[in-house]
């Protein structure tokens, strides 16, 4: 993790012209923890410690792994949203897409096990299609992604409610729901490894590798400065379309897991886009693009869920949950914007100081 930082942030070389691997492993880890993207891991650790202090049984490996399984769908959605946000766009259609996929699974699979594979394939195709439409609307039609995905959200949720009448429909066959609620049983120590957790780990590894490949590098460049990326020869529109497709696919996977976890109802997935954006922002990813790490986005989702769990354990009424969540988000982002600024402030005036994305000097 710590080796990524100099490459992404680019700060140390520029500021002091020292090799990337300055200091020992411990020092580098500390420096990482001081950035917003690293700080969220510290936040997760603090929240976890606080919960275990309140309720020691939460710290048992079995219940921890179950918690991670429960959090997997939102973490996956957050990673999907990350790709779009780091490219400088928004995906507001995520929640509606989750709902669409959940309802599709419920009504198309029914009690027929033979249909599981074809329907899952269809769900993935729908996911790709939504992503491509969002992406092309943003790039070819040049409509702001906020509007394109808002339109997509209205269209998808309208269709779903029209087709279902707003009522819960039958759950699909149990073997399909096992993806969301089942796991590998009889594991020593852990007792059970939930399938959602395995999916999350696989996707997290995949996303990390992807962000180190040329696509990931280009994505961050596009989010930081699309004009510069364009002039440097990047296919900006195609990179952004792929980011939207990844986001929609993440929503699809989250939907598949949620079918097992929450059942089929048109309200599943409501507000998912804002929760995912919140998680991404909590992970230190900068709205507007070009800053942040994909694993921090997933960690942001965990921090959010841990926060709710903690509030639950210390007996805060669930009605206050929104208020506390709002305060925490604002505080986290306020701190993060300070830290990014400090981390990137050049020692002498450089052209960077005038870039619109990150006012480098104070007011």
């Amino acid at each position: 993790m710590s080796t990524v930082i100099p490459g992404v942030a680019g700060a140390p070389e520029q500021r002091r012209a020292i090799p990337a691997h300055e200091g020992g492993a411990g020092q580098r880890l500390l420096r990482t923890a001081a950035t917003p993207g690293g700080g969220v891991f510290v936040l997760v650790a603090i929240l976890l410690a606080a919960i275990i202090w309140q309720n020691p049984s939460f710290g048992e490996p079995g219940s921890l792994i179950r918690f991670m399984g429960r959090t997997a769908p939102i973490a996956i959605a957050a990673m999907g949203q990350y790709f779009v946000i780091v490219a400088g766009e928004f995906d507001l259609s995520m929640g509606a897409l989750v709902t669409t996929q959940v309802v599709m699974a419920g009504s198309l699979i029914g009690q027929d096990e033979g249909r599981i594979l074809p329907v899952m394939l269809l769900m993935l195709v729908v996911g790709v299609l939504v992503g491509v439409l969002n992406g092309l609307g943003t790039t070819l039609l040049r409509v702001p992604s906020f509007i394109v995905t808002l339109g997509m959200m209205l269209a998808l949720s309208g269709l779903v409610f029209y087709l279902t009448g707003g009522a819960a429909s039958g759950n699909p066959v149990d073997s399909f729901r096992q993806i969301g609620r089942g796991g590998i049983e009889d594991v020593p120590v852990l007792d059970v490894i939930p399938y959602p957790f395995i999916i999350l780990v696989v996707l997290a590894v995949g996303a990390t590798v992807l962000m180190r490949r040329p696509f990931g590098r280009t994505l961050i460049a596009v989010g930081d400065n699309p004009d510069a990326a364009e002039l440097a020869g990047s296919p900006v529109w195609w990179v952004k379309v792929r980011a939207f497709v990844l986001s929609s696919l993440a929503a699809t996977v989250a939907g598949i897991i949620l079918v097992g976890y929450a059942g089929v109802h048109p309200s599943v997935g409501r507000g998912y886009e804002f929760t995912a954006i919140t998680a991404v922002v909590l992970g230190g990813v900068v709205l507007g693009g070009g800053r942040g790490w994909v694993l921090s986005a997933a960690a942001g989702a965990f921090a959010l869920e841990l926060l709710f769990t903690l509030l639950n354990f210390i007996g805060v009424e669930s009605t206050w949950r929104d208020t506390v969540q709002g305060l925490i988000i604002i505080a986290a982002v306020a701190l993060a914007s300070r830290a990014w600024r400090r981390g990137r402030r050049p020692s002498r005036p450089t052209p960077e100081a005038t870039a619109p994305h990150h006012p480098a000097s104070g007011h």
Binding site: A155, G158, W237, F274, A334, A353
Partner: protein, 361 residues
């Protein structure tokens, strides 16, 4: 209006592109402002709406129908005017639905059905709303929190407060106050009149005052504005305070119509996303620095006509959402492509598919 919009645009271009001014080739077509396009689209929507209404054997231009549309226009109008200010300043306000609800509850609670409390009720509701706007403005400027996050967070805070303190509708508007919701002069409902007067005031603020020009400058490029000697915080804070206050007015108007305050009236109306959609539909740049109140009013009117027509056609409520979504994207696409055509040629112009891909970037 035409010259003004263009001067603002060139101001933004100067801020963001630097050298493009002066090197712009002469245009063959007569230039049409974005606001002009909005009203062409609006006229189109009205014609289609009138034809469709006629097929149902109803008259679109009847006094009842027109004033119903104007009434529907006023609530979203209030909010969208505020949203325009905030978006022009380069921020965003997602907290409006909760401010709307809170204002209707505070107003209704203070009035408690007695006419002598109207002034206090209105004053307190607007004061609370303005206070929320001030907090948001300070968060955005002093703490440097992105407007999206700051308003999302404040929205959550307020919605938590509403959930804890109000289980259902409460408060009540006295009869005198309810008159605001139902009185009309000719075909013009008094609520719409108030909205139009405020729109005019805001237009004056934007076009004739130093603050208004600073608002455009800060929204166009905060860093350039700062280096030009503008105090960048003031316009942003004022925009947020005005936006929340206008949302509070919308809440009071809803209170006058429903005669009770409701903790869910704002979020049910989805005023956050719809007002942003109306602003963008009205030709404002979501990134800030370019746009006009007139355009926004056109965008709001398009929504109102669309809704009225779909109601007359008795379109399923959920299908209405689908149509709304499509119209938003397509309408914005119309002039998003136009502004693309307006861009100056830098180097040799590519042709064919390559041109489309390049320009789409």
């Amino acid at each position: 209006m035409k010259t003004l919009t263009r001067s603002h645009r060139s101001g933004t271009d100067a801020a963001s592109q630097g050298s493009s001014i002066g090197g712009r080739p002469p245009r063959s077509r007569a230039p049409m402002t974005t606001t002009g396009i909005i009203y062409v689209v609006l006229a189109l929507v009205v014609v289609v709406g009138a034809v469709l209404t006629a097929t149902q054997g109803r008259n679109f231009f009847s006094v009842t129908n027109i004033s119903a549309i104007l009434t529907a226009l006023s609530v979203l109008g209030f909010i969208s005017i505020g949203q325009t200010l905030v978006i022009l300043a380069g921020s965003l306000d997602l907290s409006v639905p909760y401010v709307v609800s809170l204002s209707s509850l505070v107003g209704g609670g203070v009035m408690a059905g007695r006419s002598e409390n109207i002034v206090q009720g209105v004053a307190l509701a607007l004061l609370v709303s303005a206070g929320i706007g001030l907090v948001i403005g300070l968060l955005v400027t002093v703490l440097d929190v992105h407007g999206f996050v700051a308003t999302l967070g404040i929205g959550l805070v307020v919605s938590g407060y509403l959930a804890v303190n109000y289980q259902g509708s409460s408060g009540s508007a006295p009869r005198d106050f309810r008159l605001i919701g139902i009185t009309r002069i000719g075909i013009l409902p008094i609520s719409t009149l108030i909205m139009l007067v405020i729109a005019a005031l805001v237009i004056v603020l934007l076009r004739r005052t130093r603050l208004g020009h600073h608002l455009y400058a800060v929204g166009g490029n905060r860093e350039v504005a700062r280096m030009s000697g503008i105090r960048t915080a003031t316009p942003v804070i004022v925009a947020h305070v005005l936006c929340s206050t206008l949302a509070g007015m919308a809440g009071l108007l809803l209170l006058a119509r429903l005669s009770v305050g409701s903790p869910t009236i704002g979020s049910q109306g989805r005023y956050d996303l719809l007002s942003i959609a109306a602003v963008v539909l009205g030709g404002s740049l979501l990134a800030g620095g370019k746009g006009s109140i007139l355009g926004t009013l056109g965008g709001v009117a398009i929504f109102a006509v669309l809704d009225s027509t779909m109601d007359v056609m008795s379109v399923n409520a959920f299908i209405q959402d689908v149509i709304r979504g499509l119209v938003i994207v397509l309408a914005v696409a119309v002039y998003a492509r136009r502004s693309m055509a307006r861009r100056p040629a830098r180097f040799d112009r590519p042709t064919g598919v390559k041109a489309v891909l390049k320009e789409a970037q």
